[in-house]
Symmetry: C2
Subunit: 309 residues, 2 copies
């Protein structure tokens, strides 16, 4: 199984277009030891020329063009992208679907509730239905591994994908009338991929209000987890107002109840942080936070990172 | 008045993510004499640090980051973007609004009908309403110059903006129930900007079914016009099926009834083509079509082009 990180920042990216905070300002001027990052986007490949996109980032067009592995074959229309799996209805995880509207037949998985948000109150996504055949919206069940790829006659190397609830909420934009009808546990999911005995667990939005993630993260060969914020008050400190990290569905990295402290001991896989917000001091490789993350045995994802399991 | 072209291609950009046509394939491999282009995006400035965005391209984040004139001042949150003016409800002209969702107060102009499409059947745009103050949706009347910028105490240098109907239709994604209630003439507009006696006319989607554009284009100091397709059958030739250029609201450039032939004689301003589709032979600077365009006195817009009137 191959995994590519096409984008590694939280919503808004790094730098963020309207932000002049210390991190954004320094990276714009080339004064930060650290990299610019597009919005979080991961792709998984079980076989050559076969890719699954995990979420659909607002920067998806730019991200796909930067890597010739995602280009169509010469003189054809097409794509090596087999399907897209959405993990929430957050704008920064679904907006990129609109980049894929160019008459391309697509299969899109999400929980039944997230599919309702997209198809019942956002007519823009009907632009995906002009392809022949039109987009296939597929409901993804919770806690049930589904086979999403299998080589002909080779059951062993099948790739399965299991969705688990991560305890987050629906985004603010969802109407109150629809919100009442949606299943709470289908709002934000993590994904476990298994192939040839190797396990990859992806959870870019970890609310911390649910312990589902711990076993999956511990047992995985690669845990790619929510690195959005370093502290709970980070957004408030920079903007002067707003919500805490936990209030918007992200357990912060630091502190006695943060992700680094809560990560189960004894796991043997790689632990990598992704979905870093522009305000996170970990983006500055010379910061104490960056050192603390590395000293605790974690890596920090960057655009272009590749991992093979 | 300063004008910047931040993106110059039609929807999908150049290359287009899922297209392996001769143009896309050659530009990907560095074998084309011609430039890659992001999706059409223009900005107009009547004064220093004051910009109006014309449409909101799917590539807007990437486009704004590439030019430090659009960055916020150091240690502030903010933007030199005064307002966004939408010219249709097409995905490639409105999707970029979602790039601007980062709690930034914004003013967005569009015809009353286009505002209804965005706010009544696309809840995603409510993510713009979380700012303080929330986004201001402003209805733009037809055929009536409105002052959108004025320096304190200096009426002469005011910038006015006039919307004119261009005879196009609403995009396929709009629901039938809403479509019946919308004013046909508000579907696709052109914009005339006037400041200090200088005139700039912008019309990236020219259906050709209406003659409104001719006088405005002739009288302008800069006419930035629809260069989407070279021939009426271009999409069908590449894809093997689909609609003609005219059927999707773009008069082709070539032919006795094409834009080049129909452009009124006697105008003294610059004539520039924008919104080039990936299939357009004009993108290949060595093509006969490219030569024909230049011989007819036209320029072709590129990402990063700047014009001062």
């Amino acid at each position: 199984m191959r995994i590519k990180v096409l984008g590694s920042a939280a919503g808004g990216g790094f730098p963020q277009w309207n932000c002049g905070c210390s991190n954004c300002d320094r990276v714009r001027r080339g004064l930060l030891r650290g990299r610019p990052r597009t919005q979080a986007q991961v792709a998984v490949s079980p076989a050559p020329a076969t890719w699954f996109l995990l979420n659909a980032s607002p920067d998806l067009r730019q991200q796909l063009l930067q890597d010739l592995e995602f280009a169509p074959a010469q003189h054809t229309r097409g794509t090596p992208i087999s399907a897209i799996i959405l993990m929430s209805a957050d704008v920064d995880g679904v907006m990129g679907l609109l980049h894929l509207r160019e008459f391309q037949p697509l299969k899109i998985y999400a929980t039944a509730s997230v599919l309702r948000v997209l198809t019942e109150e956002n007519s823009l996504f009907r632009s995906l239905e002009r392809s022949v055949p039109p987009v296939q919206w597929q409901a993804l069940p919770l806690d049930q591994p589904i086979p999403i790829y299998q080589r002909a006659g080779d059951a062993v190397s099948a790739l399965t994908c299991k969705a688990v609830s991560l305890g987050g909420g629906y985004p603010d934009y969802v109407s109150n009338s629809l919100r009442k009808q949606l299943a709470k546990e289908e709002a934000v999911i993590g994904l476990e991929f298994v192939q040839d005995g190797k396990k990859f667990f992806y959870a870019p939005s970890l609310s911390g209000y649910d312990e589902n993630w711990k076993c999956l993260a511990k047992e995985s060969d690669l845990a790619l987890l929510d690195g959005t914020f370093w502290t709970d008050n980070e957004l408030i400190d920079v903007r002067g107002s707003g919500k805490t990290a936990r209030e918007i569905g992200h357990v912060p990295l630091s502190g006695h109840d943060g992700l680094l402290a809560r990560f189960p001991s004894g796991g043997k896989g790689r632990r990598v942080l992704i979905h870093l917000n522009n305000t996170n001091p970990v983006l500055d490789e010379e910061s104490a936070a960056s050192k603390a993350v590395r000293d605790a045995g974690w890596e920090v994802a960057y655009d272009g990172m590749e991992i093979e399991l």
